[in-house]
Symmetry: C2
Subunit: 394 residues, 2 copies
């Protein structure tokens, strides 16, 4: 099998072990960290072309390309990472990691707690977005990257990108925040809580110690995924995709055959797959990190004050039909950036696909994203040339 010319092709995950204790914002410590990551493209000689991709709730390190020739699906952001794509691997060295707390191989609830020799489970420390930034910073140092050309993320990933801009202003040139928010709304928290309740209500959850019982809380996780799926799509696109078409049964009067709508069987199929591969404790942890995130909390609840600590440039993107992270939430970000007198480009993309638009091929989004990333690269080239000039001059 050959891959398409704009694919990064076969990729292999790498892993790095950090032996030092990792202090978590809740006050506890992890004795050590494993971080699994992938890279696409080549790091240039002055290490200036590195880009960090941060994943969202159900993502992982596998953002682009294929793990084997028989892989049916590429990484989760393959639409936007590859040769000639928005995050152009001919130009950039792209790093994508599985966040700690995840279930893609990095240290998380399903890892062994060396103190007990059992999986961490519910004893894994509660994580904040800032803990991910801190663990990503370790990886940054390990890879020898002084400054990211850009830190990029959608949804929960956008929250990490924003936090980077405040925690390490000198180490990030551009911050790309897609379909994200300064903090979740009460409705968002309510949906996340309902998902967590579905998981914790599943008798197979065993208070998070299901590993020891050799079961997984499949039913609860499936319900959580169904809620996710519905809220990440728009009413409109679900209507277009499924309408009221039936998968089986009939509405004939006098007929008792059980009716199943297409949308029902689709949801169940997606939820079944997910519930078999994703870790329930990770789902609990990730949704809590989402709920707890509030960019301006430590800045007197003033996002303008928060962004005064940033020195990078920003691209903010929202999608018209995204009702989970609505354009209004992106406008809040932009408003705060303007208040803090930071350079910001904002685009609301007219797209019918809801929150999931950030993952899917959307023409105008692709154009804007590509154009912005070209600028990021051109500015790098400038800096490099300038530094060369300076070197010649000195």
């Amino acid at each position: 099998m050959t891959f398409k010319a704009d694919s990064v092709g076969l990729v292999t995950a790498k892993s790095v072990h950090f032996d030092a204790p990792f202090k978590v914002s809740c006050g506890r410590e992890l004795p050590s960290l494993d971080i699994v990551y992938e890279t696409y493209g080549k790091l240039n000689s002055d290490c200036s072309n590195a880009v960090l991709v941060c994943h969202a709730l159900s993502g992982d390190h596998h953002a682009a390309g294929y793990h084997s020739e028989s892989d049916k699906k590429p990484g989760w952001w393959d639409n936007y990472i590859g040769p000639g794509k928005a995050i152009d691997t001919d130009l950039f060295f792209v790093v994508s990691l599985n966040n700690i707390g995840g279930c893609g191989g990095s240290t998380g609830p399903s890892s062994i707690n060396p103190m007990t020799n059992e999986p961490w489970g519910p004893d894994f420390p509660v994580l904040r977005v800032r803990d991910w930034v801190e663990s990503q910073r370790l990886l940054t140092d390990y890879l020898g990257i002084g400054q990211w050309a850009a830190v990029i993320g959608g949804s929960l990933g956008g929250m990490q990108a924003m936090r980077w801009s405040l925690e390490y202003p000198d180490r990030i040139q551009h911050c790309v925040v897609i379909a994200s928010a300064l903090k979740l709304t009460a409705q968002n928290i309510a949906f996340n809580n309902t998902s967590r309740t579905a998981i914790s209500s599943d008798p197979d959850f065993h208070d998070g110690r299901y590993y020891q019982h050799a079961v997984i809380p499949k039913r609860g996780l499936a319900i959580a995924r169904m809620i996710g799926h519905i809220t990440y799509l728009s009413d409109g696109v679900m209507g277009e995709k499924f309408g009221r078409e039936l998968r089986s049964g009939s509405f004939d009067q006098g007929s008792e055959s059980a009716v199943e709508f297409q949308v029902e069987s689709y949801l169940h199929h997606q939820a079944d797959i997910f519930s078999q591969i994703f870790d329930a404790n990770t789902y609990m942890l990730m949704t809590k990190a989402l709920d707890y995130f509030d960019l301006a909390r430590e800045y007197n609840d003033n996002p303008v004050s928060a962004f005064r600590n940033a020195s990078c440039k920003f691209l903010v993107v929202s999608f018209s039909s995204d009702w989970r992270f609505s354009p209004q939430r992106s406008e809040d970000i932009v408003q705060a950036l303007i208040g803090a007198e930071r350079a910001v480009t904002y685009v609301e993309i007219d797209a019918p696909l809801g929150h999931d638009s950030f993952l899917l091929p959307v023409k105008r989004y692709n154009k804007v994203f590509t154009a912005y990333m070209r600028q990021v690269f051109n500015q790098l080239a400038c800096v490099a040339e300038k530094s060369e000039v300076n070197q010649h001059a000195s």
Copy 2:
């Protein structure tokens, strides 16, 4: 305790037994029917002032007033039924019933199936909105009401009102359809299916035969109710009501205390109460009736053709922030009524409370509803006067 002047005060539920087999649209039969209902106000001498109130998913016959002096909460539509209220009990004789399939005393899944002497449970026939109209017609005859001055309902209740206008055009003068739709969208079906999956995944559900196990699927029903609550409110009103306020815990760094948001504890509280009083099989049945409803299915999918069978006048009301039954869905109804050249008054009420607005005190909604119902009454008076005049003349 004395009740407010605009309350119908103490009310008592009545019950009627219909001994004849009741044929259900799915082809099966119920051997007999019990229907529990309440009435408010007085039927006038020519039986022309009767109004039927149809309930929605979680409603029942208790629409107004109190069952005892110690009752803390009145019936579910007490905001709009009472002396001087929109459905003015000084003018109208109001009938409110528990639909069959319900759990308020009418024949439903928790009733005893005389063939087995066990509760019907999952063997209770699948019901359509038209079956409710048919059972309501039995009650209509029993009460000696030839024609309803109005059939009124919100949400699923509005679907019943519309079906009345087609099935018994001569027996309904006005049809009041509030926050309803000609049929559900794929998104609505998906939410309902997720709720049903939560219930059927609960090990205490026992395929609907939980009565025999002396348990109730509390956890599943609670999750279903949480989904309902979130989707019946708007993002905006949840934000205003709860914001990101904490019920317990703290976000202090270095603190590991478990955080609970106000919105989480509110949802859990509501869900706990509901899951102890509502029957899970009824929830399954009612949400299926919602999903299956499609006013125009038997009219070549043409709602204009459907409404050509109606001869009553219509009031259609929607609420700006209702995203579960959006104003667009009410406009679909209005569009079809205009196409069928039927008299229709349409108002979209600017209200922040989401779908639940139809139950809650909203000033402009109250004014419109009251004004319309006054017209309904004045037209009755006209007819009565005219018939008197005619009698004198003959």
